[in-house]
């Protein structure tokens, strides 16, 4: 997946609102975005809804992509912002329901992964804060550089490094990851 091909597709979308070029961008990156959001949200259905919103926001804001960093870095920034906005909205919604004296039946609403599908990774992610989780996923699952993660999360590179260090330390302290048998 070359960066120059991505930039060419973006240029076609921005200059002529070329929907075919945007479709190609979606096909190329949907897996990364959905994987990122699935790990972050822990709820597959919600993650896929958020991924759809993310691509719609990307369509609206594509002209703001400067082409300096990688397109996937920019797209994950949009995905992360979409996730945070959705969380803020659902929190406000829960508060409104709470004020009205109604209990939101969240367990029955969202089909989260079944218990038998909880992986080691889910356990590791559970000990991390939301911000640490997002940064660790960007780094280890999406392969973004520290600079790209900094751009995506609006953080200085030094802060990104310290968040990764802290995240690794938390995982190390909670689990003996050296004993982990992969595959």
């Amino acid at each position: 997946m070359s960066a120059s091909a991505d930039n060419e597709l973006v240029a076609r979308v921005v200059s002529a609102q070329n929907t075919a070029a945007f479709g190609e961008l979606v096909r190329r990156h949907q897996s990364h975005v959905r994987n990122f959001l699935r790990k972050l949200a822990g709820d597959y259905a919600l993650a896929d809804d958020l991924a759809q919103d993310c691509f719609m926001h990307a369509w609206d804001k594509l002209q703001t992509f400067s082409g300096r960093g990688s397109f996937i870095g920019w797209l994950l920034k949009v995905a992360y912002t979409t996730f945070l906005q959705s969380k803020r909205k659902s929190k406000r919604y829960a508060e409104i329901l709470d004020t009205a004296g109604r209990v939101a039946d969240q367990e029955s609403r969202s089909p989260v992964q079944p218990d038998d599908e909880v992986t080691d990774l889910d356990k590791y992610l559970a000990v991390l804060s939301e911000e640490e989780r997002a940064i660790m996923i960007m780094s280890y699952a999406c392969g973004l550089s520290h600079r790209e993660i900094g751009d995506a999360t609006d953080m200085p590179v030094g802060t990104v490094k310290s968040v990764i260090f802290r995240g690794k330390e938390k995982i190390r302290n909670s689990f003996d990851i050296k004993d982990h048998q992969h595959g």
């Binding site: 897996s31 991924a51 690794k168 990851i177 050296k178 992969h182």
Partner: protein
């Protein structure tokens, strides 16, 4: 040079990093109509945007037509109340009121159209 060194330093990974990478690694998710759904939404939005301006203009025009006609008629009646000798003194230099009004409306519409085209 410095950025290259930083990138190289970033790429040097210890065993723990490699282990974490392998744990975070996941299979690619099949498209399964996902991109088709997105493109359907995008096309719908595109059509909506293209149609929104003409539809708004036509609706606005239809709503504003009757009051506008009333306004023009009222102004024309007001014009007729002005004494003829007062008007005749200025007819040489100033065009009739209806022409001025029409010109102003056309100018405003033209400016609005230009701005919309620019956007």
């Amino acid at each position: 040079m410095i950025s290259k060194i930083i990138n190289m330093a970033e790429k040097i990974k210890d065993a723990e990093d490699r282990l974490l990478e392998s744990m975070f690694d996941s299979r690619p998710i099949a498209d399964d109509g996902f991109s088709v759904r997105i493109m359907r939404k995008v096309r719908r939005r595109l059509w909506f945007r293209r149609l929104a301006l003409p539809v708004a203009a036509v609706t606005g025009g239809a709503i504003a037509f009757k009051p506008l006609v009333g306004l023009v008629t009222a102004l024309a009646n007001l014009w007729s109340l002005i004494p003829a000798d007062l008007v005749s003194g200025t007819t040489g230099s100033i065009p009739p009121f209806q022409t001025v009004l029409l010109g102003a409306i056309l100018l405003a519409a033209g400016l609005l159209g230009m701005r919309l085209l620019e956007e």
